[in-house]
Amino acid sequence: MPRVSRRRTQPDFDLDLVPILSLIVHLLPMLLLIVRFVTLAEHPVSQPPAKATEAPSREKVEAQESERVIVRATGQGFSVSGAEAGEVSLPCRSTDCAPETYDFDGLQAALRAARTLHPTLQDVLVVPDPQVPYAVIIGVFDVARGKKGETPIFANPVLVVGAPERGSVRSGEGDPAAPTPPSVGP
């Protein structure tokens, strides 16, 4: 009898590791799937070496405009000057101008046309309206620089102040109602 009780106090301790390991094996892939794996990248933007301190003459502005390619992002879509005579208007594909409805394909075609007109130019001026979201600005950068491995259409997109009037794109000018954003130019 005493022997029997001793056996009861010292039971076989057989730890079943299979469920624990199974749990771990299931948890790890689940976490790996849930975790959002992304690759971060960057768009470098430089500032101009000098800032315009006084307004240039009308002739100078017009001369600069003819030498520049300018993409304006507005609440209605894009407009591109420098691609051909006049200005190319690229309205959004729907009346509600969301980032995904902007005509980036049309913008790419317009920039390629501008590239042929300005073969040595590397800069394209990007002029966003005050309420244009950051995603649209990045979209313009993407179109200008192209995908990895592609030759960029314009290697150096440049952000310019606010929403200037037509014919007045230069550093320091913008929507007077808006705070003064940076003058980022060539």
Binding site: Q10, D12, F13, D14, L15, I20, I24, L28, L31, L32, V35, R36, F37, V38, T39, L40, A41, E42, H43, P44, V45, S46, Q47, P99, P128, D129, P130, Q131, V132, P133, Y134, A135, I137, I138, G139, F141, D142, R145, G146, K147, K148, L159, V161, G162, A178, P179, T180, P181, P182, V184
Partner: protein, 156 residues
């Protein structure tokens, strides 16, 4: 004979003590590693989403300027508040952005070794309008930064 039978039985019936503490500790460490160190963009934030891009340049190091829908932070320290990605009523002027310029100036002074053209790394929510982003970039310029690195989600 009797004693010869019992000895091998006792050897088989050994106490097996598994250290659950170590196992749990290891598992916790593996989880934390996966959640926080494998990818910095693992935690979903309703106030912050980087825009998708085809850019492939590897992000550089430097002072971090983060513009979320609810706040602007410099090196993880909140500096200004936003309301749904817009300036709060009566804010956004150059004077209101004084604290931001000061915080960016302090971040620039910490750059070691000092750079000729200091660079600030900008993490901005995809829905932030240019009226806010442009003003914040202007503040960075006022603080002495000469270059921006706009962080985006690459194609992987």
């Amino acid at each position: 004979m009797r004693s010869a039978r019992r000895r091998p039985r006792r050897r088989v019936e050994m106490n097996f003590l598994l250290s659950f503490t170590s196992m749990t500790d290891m598992f916790t460490n593996v989880l934390l590693f996966l959640l926080f160190f494998v990818n910095p963009a693992t935690v979903e934030d309703v106030n912050f989403a980087l825009p998708q891009s085809t850019a492939s340049a590897v992000p550089s190091a430097g002072p971090r300027l983060r513009i979320a829908k609810d706040e602007i932070a410099v090196d993880s320290a909140p500096v200004m508040r936003l309301a749904q990605g817009q300036w709060r009523a009566g804010e956004g002027s150059a004077d209101d952005r004084g604290p931001l310029v000061e915080a960016l100036g302090r971040a620039r002074e910490k750059i070691s070794p000092p750079q000729d053209a200091p660079t600030v790394v900008v993490e901005c929510d995809e829905g932030i309008p240019w009226v806010v982003l442009g003003a914040v970039l202007q503040s960075a310029q006022d603080a002495g930064f000469a270059q921006y690195r706009l962080i985006v989600l690459g194609e992987g």
